[in-house]
Amino acid sequence: MSVAPPLLAVEGLTKSYGGIHAVRGVSFSLRAGEILALIGPNGAGKSTCFDMLNGQNKPDTGHVRLLGEETTGKKPREIWRMGVGRTFQITATFATMTVRENVQVALISHGKQLFNLWGSAPNVDRGEAGRLLELVGMGGYADRPCGELAYGDLKRLELAIALANDPKLLLMDEPTAGMAPRERVELMRLTAQIAREKSIGVLFTEHDMDVVFEHADRIIVLNRGTLIAEGSPAEVRGNPQVQAIYLGEGLLYEAGHREGASA
């Protein structure tokens, strides 16, 4: 009687720097098609935790498994090959290349054509790149140099790049940071829609509680490196411990208000 392993299983993740425990024994899991928000005040260990999932950082102890397969200690590029797409808090794109070329690079890598010295790259996966750009609403920008894009568009381009390897899991580090309020809503709506259609699991960190409560299926809360709450938006909102951390910020009690970001 074998039970299918969850898409992402995190088990007892721990990391300390010197005497400081950045992350202590964090465990959670994520199903396909589920959108999970990782929240917590500054310094809670969100970024450390996140970096251990995407390979940027190695945990002291603990395991990360993708569909039962160990990803702990693997390099970012190996984790990507296992079907994990990611976006960065501060966008990282190929600034001198066009928008389409940015996506093509990811597609070339996905198709294992990186060492093809002779092909004509402008024609490689051109249609697929176009489709991905249409998907994120960037179809009209395909021939623009990436360095000319506005920040919100860069975020959408990153999403297109992250989708290029047909990921099972998307890791998004503060996907809406630095965006205008309307852009935030649009980007997250888009992400949620794509995730549900393609049954992609999404894990994102976020400071904007409006975004979190509107789009997350489930929320996990970190504080001082430990997981203090987990559950649906309603459950987390009602959790007294969480309320204590975010005390004084009316936001948590009434989602939907636009009173600014928390913590």
Binding site: R77, T91, T93, F94, T98, S109, Q113, P122, C146, G147
Partner: protein, 629 residues
């Protein structure tokens, strides 16, 4: 025992001057991020002016006054250079400042000959330090003892300057984050100017203080600049203490290397630098460099393959070039062959630099290895020319594979310095392994086979190979591999996040570039009929850099134009004037100031401006925001 102590003290004395020059370079780099190639030139001018002053004015006051006044005068020249030249190019593409300061160095080399003549000048001894001190039967010049004491004194003064003055605090802050310092309302212009002045003052002082020890001559700039680069890199860019320790280390290596490892004495310093860079890329006392903010205005024109019209134009140019033997004499054809070979050399480096973002300072190593490969095969194995041409470049390929593996672990200036170190190691081997390479005498009698012997045939061969290489590399730029390589250049973080093994991509590019350079070198051996260590020397590496930058590093095939213009101008000037370096240097400086995107970059800009005669309609777009990395 006493002998070794004396040797040690001599090393320490040499370190003083080296430290002065290196600390100046380090400070300038730290704040302005300019790799000041002209630093050696300032050192040299310092020595020349000090020579004149100390000859003119007698007595202790004349000497010491002369030394200090010379350094101040050169610092003033430095201020002028900074205000007139460098201020215009701080925002030019990375390394373009290197080209500008290189042009300056060329000019200075001719100017000092013009003013002071070509002969070595032996200055007078320092008053009060004319004698020698007896040390267990060995003599130590008392001036050496003075220098040994001077080093730590200068170190102390600099330390106080940086720790205890407002200016010093600003300099240290700017070294860490100059944008932030500017944002805090510091007048960046004058900070840069003053830093440059101090750096140049130190260089000139180092030169002036050498008078009693060494003759003043017009090639002393190149000799010191390489050593200074080594010192700065070993010590850690921007670290004064590091510069001091590394200066001592390098000087002692030089002093003892010749005793303990006479066979590899020249290599030793570069070997140490290579090891330091591999183990501790940021130098002994440096800190890992925070990812530099990309220069704003990075938006280059997107690269695209040639349109069919442009292809026809390129083909037409090639056909016209191929008709040269119909009307030109043998001399012109030989020049044409040499230019074609340098096109191969330049496009190989251009591929690495502009597509891969890896600026090699030692690319001549692979050019020279190709040349030596041919010479070995032709002279020792007696293979026919066509086989040699095919197999010779493999030596360049192998060299690039070994050195490239280590070099691509680093980036930026550190990559440049490691490639420089490797090139110097290869050069030293060619120079010192006389039994195999013939040392300084080279390998002679590498003559082409009869089918390629006539100047016109050889010209066609060289032209054909150059065209083939250029087209091949262009195809690679627009291949999936080329895209991946550009991706690693633009953002390592993002490349890794989309599954690209950046180091392997860059290594492959390095090997491709090295092999291509080897092809150029192989032809060069046949053109000259001989191979010398100079074929892998620093000046040839610098030539390649200049050709690439001149053509335009942000372009796809700027190397071709850069090579043709630079090489043709160079050969023509040498035949026309004794002051070829002055003119060429002036030309380079002019290009740098007027066309900071290089010749091809400028042409592209003009073409684009004409195309965009009507303003773009979509002005709704927000103004570009740089993706920070």
């Amino acid at each position: 025992m006493a002998f070794y102590v004396v040797q040690f003290l001599t090393g320490l004395a040499s370190a003083a001057s080296l430290f002065l020059v290196a600390s100046g370079l380090s400070i300038i780099f730290g704040v302005t991020r300019i790799v000041n190639f002209a630093h050696g030139a300032f050192y040299m001018i310092g020595a020349y002016i000090a020579f004149t002053l100390t000859e003119r004015f007698s007595g202790a006051f004349g000497f010491w006054g002369g030394v200090v006044v010379a350094a101040l005068a050169v610092a003033l020249i430095g201020v002028l250079v900074e205000m007139v030249l460098l201020r215009r190019i701080y925002h030019a593409p990375e390394l373009f400042q290197l080209l500008g300061t290189f042009g300056l160095t060329l000019m200075v080399e001719d100017l000092v000959v013009l003013i002071w003549g070509p002969d070595d000048l032996v200055g007078r001894r320092a008053p009060g330090f004319k004698g020698a001190v007896d040390f267990f039967g060995q003599n130590i010049p008392s001036y050496d003892l003075f220098l040994i004491a001077l080093g730590p004194v200068v170190l102390g003064v600099l330390w106080l300057l940086f720790q205890r003055t407002r200016w010093g605090v600003l300099v240290r802050a700017a070294t860490q984050d100059r944008d932030m310092v500017a944002a805090l309302g510091v007048n960046q212009k004058w900070l840069f100017t003053s830093v440059f002045a101090v750096g140049v003052f130190l260089a000139a002082l180092g030169g002036a203080l050498q008078i009693p020890r060494d003759a003043v001559h017009h090639a002393m700039d190149l000799r010191i600049i390489v050593e200074v680069f080594v010192v700065v890199v070993i010590g850690g860019l921007g670290s004064i203490v590091g510069a001091f320790v590394a200066a001592v280390l390098v000087s002692e290596l030089n002093a003892f290397g010749i005793l303990i490892f006479p066979k590899i004495s020249i290599i030793l310093v570069f070997l140490v630098m290579a090891v330091v860079l591999i183990v501790r890329p940021w130098g002994l006392f440096g800190k890992p460099e925070a990812a530099a903010r990309k220069t704003p205005g990075l938006t280059v024109n997107p690269w695209r393959p040639l349109t069919s019209n442009e292809r026809l134009a390129a083909l037409a140019a090639l056909v016209i070039a191929a008709t040269l033997p119909l009307f030109a004499g043998n001399y012109a054809l030989t020049v044409g062959s040499e230019i074609a070979i340098f096109v191969i050399f330049a496009v190989s480096l251009h591929f690495l630099m502009s597509v891969g973002g890896l600026a090699s300072f030692g690319h001549a190593a692979y050019f020279g290895l190709g040349a030596y490969g041919v010479a070995f095969l032709a002279k020792m194995a007696g293979l026919p020319m066509i086989v040699c041409l095919l197999l010779g470049p493999l030596l360049g390929c192998m060299g690039a594979a070994v050195f490239g593996f280590f070099a691509v672990q680093l980036s930026g200036v550190y990559f440049a310095m490691l490639t420089l170190a490797f090139a110097q190691i290869v050069w030293s081997i060619a120079f010192q392994w006389v039994s195999v390479t013939g040392g300084d005498n080279g390998i002679l009698g590498v003559w082409p086979a009869s089918w390629a012997a006539s100047p016109s045939h050889f010209y066609w061969l060289a032209l054909g190979v150059a065209a083939l290489v250029t087209v091949t590399l262009r195809i690679m730029v627009f291949s999936p591999f080329g895209y991946a390589l550009r991706a690693t250049r633009d953002s390592l973080l993002r490349s890794e996040a989309v599954g690209i093994n950046a180091k392997r991509i860059q290594w492959t590019a390095f090997v491709i570039a090295g092999t291509t350079a080897g092809i150029g070198g192989a032809l060069f051996a046949y053109l000259k009929g001989s191979v010398f260590p100079d074929n892998l020397g620093i000046s040839l590496s610098v030539d390649a850099l200049v050709m690439v930058l001149l053509g335009g590093v942000e372009t796809v095939s700027g190397g071709v134009i850069g090579a043709i213009v630079y090489k043709a101008l160079n050969i023509w000037l040498v035949s026309q004037t004794d002051l070829s370096k002055l003119v060429l240097g002036g030309f380079i400086v002019l290009i740098v100031v007027v066309f900071p995107k290089g010749i091809v970059g400028m042409l592209e800009m003009l073409a684009q401006r004409r195309r965009k005669s009507s303003p773009p309609g979509s002005s709704l777009l927000a103004k570009p925001i740089e993706s920070a990395e």
